[in-house]
Every structure is written in structure tokens, then in C-alpha cells.
């Protein structure tokens, strides 16, 4: 067996599930920097979306968040029980709201004034977002006792793949 070329390693790793990749970051320095690089993450996402329905999960938003294999409910009969996701911000008395999702990332909150995070359910990593209180325009309609939420979450590929989020309280 000859020495393995980096481009071949790259081809193989894009075909691995996230759990294996999180484990193989520990193989060597070059493996870690390859797996952590935005270019690899992009290639992995593209490769995974090529496989029709193989790994697609549906996220159910009740008081907590649940995941179910898309395939298992395709025929109208669910063969699998939804699995509760271990997520950040889990609190007994506060439901989690999903404010948006994009390219495998979720924008969730259980308290829009204090707790807003971007979360990746596959890597279980999350990032708390800074809250910038802004005064809404005076004519913004408000429900009684509720704060009106306008927010968005999107992907900007012109900016090296940075994910942008706008949240207007």
C-alpha cells in the first residue's frame, strides 16, 4: 500500500458521519485542521445532501426538541419513536422556540431577552449570541403581554460562508 494522498483522505472523510469526524479530529494535527476547515465543512455538507434521505432527520418542536429519521415516517407509518435531543437551554418551565434553521444549524431560544443560541445538533456544539436590546419602532403592533418577534437566519456565501442572523425584538 502506497502513502495516502491528502486529496484521497479528504474524499474519504467527506463520506463519514459527524460522530466519526468528531472522533477522528484526534488522529493527528492535520486531521484536526482539515475537519475544522470551512472548506471541508462545506464539502461534507454537499456530500451528505447528495445521498437522498439517507441521514435526513426531522426535528419536532414540542416543549423540548425531538428528532426522528425522515425515512421512518415516509410511508405514512412511523416505525421509530422520536428521540429527545440533548440541547442547550433546556429548562423545565420554559419551552424552546426554534426561530429558524439553515444548513444544519438551528437558531433557538427559551427567553428572547436573555437566551438566544445558534446550535448544531450533529456536533452538539452551540454558541450563545449577544443580545443587543433595541427599541422597536413605536408603531410596531404588540400583543397583550407578549413581545413581538421579527427575526431571520440565513446563509451568506459571499462572505466566506458566514451565517448571519438578524433578530429584532
Amino acid at each position: 500500500m502506497s502513502n495516502v494522498l491528502p486529496e484521497v483522505i479528504n474524499e474519504i472523510l467527506t463520506r463519514l458521519p459527524v460522530k466519526s469526524l468528531m472522533k477522528f479530529r484526534c488522529v493527528s494535527k492535520s486531521f484536526k485542521s482539515l475537519i475544522d476547515s470551512p472548506k471541508f465543512i462545506e464539502a461534507h455538507l454537499n456530500q451528505q445532501t447528495l445521498k437522498p434521505n439517507s441521514n435526513t432527520k426531522l426535528i419536532l418542536n414540542a416543549h423540548n426538541l425531538f428528532s426522528v429519521d425522515f425515512n421512518s415516517i415516509c410511508n405514512g407509518v412511523s416505525t421509530q419513536q422520536p428521540i429527545e435531543l440533548e440541547k442547550p437551554l433546556k429548562q423545565l418551565h420554559r419551552p424552546t422556540q426554534v426561530l429558524g434553521s439553515c444548513r444544519g444549524l438551528f437558531f433557538i431560544s427559551n427567553n428572547l431577552k436573555y437566551n438566544v443560541v445558534v446550535w448544531n445538533p450533529s456536533t452538539k456544539m452551540f454558541c450563545r449570541l449577544p443580545i443587543c436590546p433595541t427599541k422597536p419602532p413605536s408603531r410596531t403592533p404588540r400583543g397583550l403581554g407578549f413581545v413581538q418577534i421579527c427575526g431571520g437566519f440565513g446563509y451568506d456565501d459571499s462572505d466566506n460562508g458566514t451565517t448571519h442572523m438578524i433578530n429584532l425584538p
Binding site: V8, K23, C26, V27, S28
Partner: protein, 159 residues
């Protein structure tokens, strides 16, 4: 017919329709560089025989879809990747060099399936990678996602 020569000096004749699945050789033919024998200094005869077997079977890929032979081809592919780890890797390196997209796809997926549940130590050995992380760095990576290092599926064997 196109003549290919392995690095251990064995010559093989392959139909042009089969061999042009290799982008590299297709370009050589188009540029008029394939008039005599094409030497392949990176590929031994054992690996080249496997690659040619694949090319000959996949010669009529388009036709297979029309005549309903897709299942036959799928079965062939499953059997084809049923080889030892080192052998599989030699075919991947050859497919990469010859630029045969479908073969690369098939073999890389098989390699990924075999590596998926392997332990970190097994992967280092299988891919001949020297660990250059310190113990502290390793621990930090494990702390990022301890759940990835646990589970009954983790397999420490090398094959």
C-alpha cells in the same frame, strides 16, 4: 484498442469505449498522445487488472439503465469492493490517478464505511498516520465531544 502498461512492465489491451471512463486517458486520446502503449508508473499489474475489470463491466452504464441491468451492476459493485483494505486503497489511488469518477466514488464510500466505527488508534494504523498531538491536545479534543469516543460500536481492529 488502447494499450496500458503497469509499473511491473505488463501490458493490457482495453477497448477504447471502456478506457475513456478514465478522464486522464480520455484526454490523452483526444490530444493524440495514446498512439502507442500508455505507461502507468503508479499502478501495479494486480491493481490494474481490478481497474480494467471494473471498466469493462461498466462499459455500457447508460445501456444498463435502459435494459434493466442496474441491479446486476449494483451487485457487481458490491462484490467488487469486497477486497482487503490495502488492495482497496491501491484501487483508490489508481482511480484517483486515472481520474475515474464512479470508481473513486464507489471505493471511497467503501473505505468510509470501513473506517466509520474504528478507534482513533486503528485509523492511524490503517492510514499510516503518525500521531503528532500531545497528550494535552488529545484530551482537549476529547473534551470537545466526549460522546464521539463512547459507544459499543467502536472497533479497535485493523482490517
Amino acid at each position: 484498442m488502447v494499450k496500458l502498461k503497469s509499473n511491473d512492465d505488463k501490458e493490457f489491451e482495453v477497448e477504447e469505449a471502456a478506457v475513456i471512463q478514465s478522464e486522464m486517458i480520455k484526454n490523452m486520446i483526444e490530444d493524440g498522445c495514446a498512439t502507442s502503449v500508455i505507461p502507468l508508473p503508479n499502478i501495479d499489474s494486480k491493481t490494474l487488472i481490478k481497474v480494467i475489470e471494473y471498466l469493462n463491466k461498466h462499459i455500457n452504464m447508460g445501456k444498463a439503465a435502459e435494459t434493466g441491468e442496474e441491479d446486476d451492476l449494483k451487485e457487481f459493485d458490491e462484490q467488487f469492493v469486497n477486497m482487503g483494505w490495502e488492495e482497496l486503497f491501491d484501487v483508490i489511488m489508481a482511480a484517483n490517478y486515472l481520474n475515474i469518477h464512479e470508481l473513486m466514488e464507489l471505493c471511497c464510500q467503501s473505505a468510509a464505511d470501513r473506517l466509520k466505527n474504528k478507534s482513533v488508534r486503528a485509523v492511524r494504523e490503517m492510514l499510516k498516520i503518525t500521531n503528532d498531538l500531545t497528550e494535552e491536545e488529545e484530551q482537549e479534543i476529547i473534551n470537545d465531544a466526549p460522546w464521539a469516543f463512547e459507544g459499543p460500536e467502536i472497533d479497535d481492529t485493523v482490517n
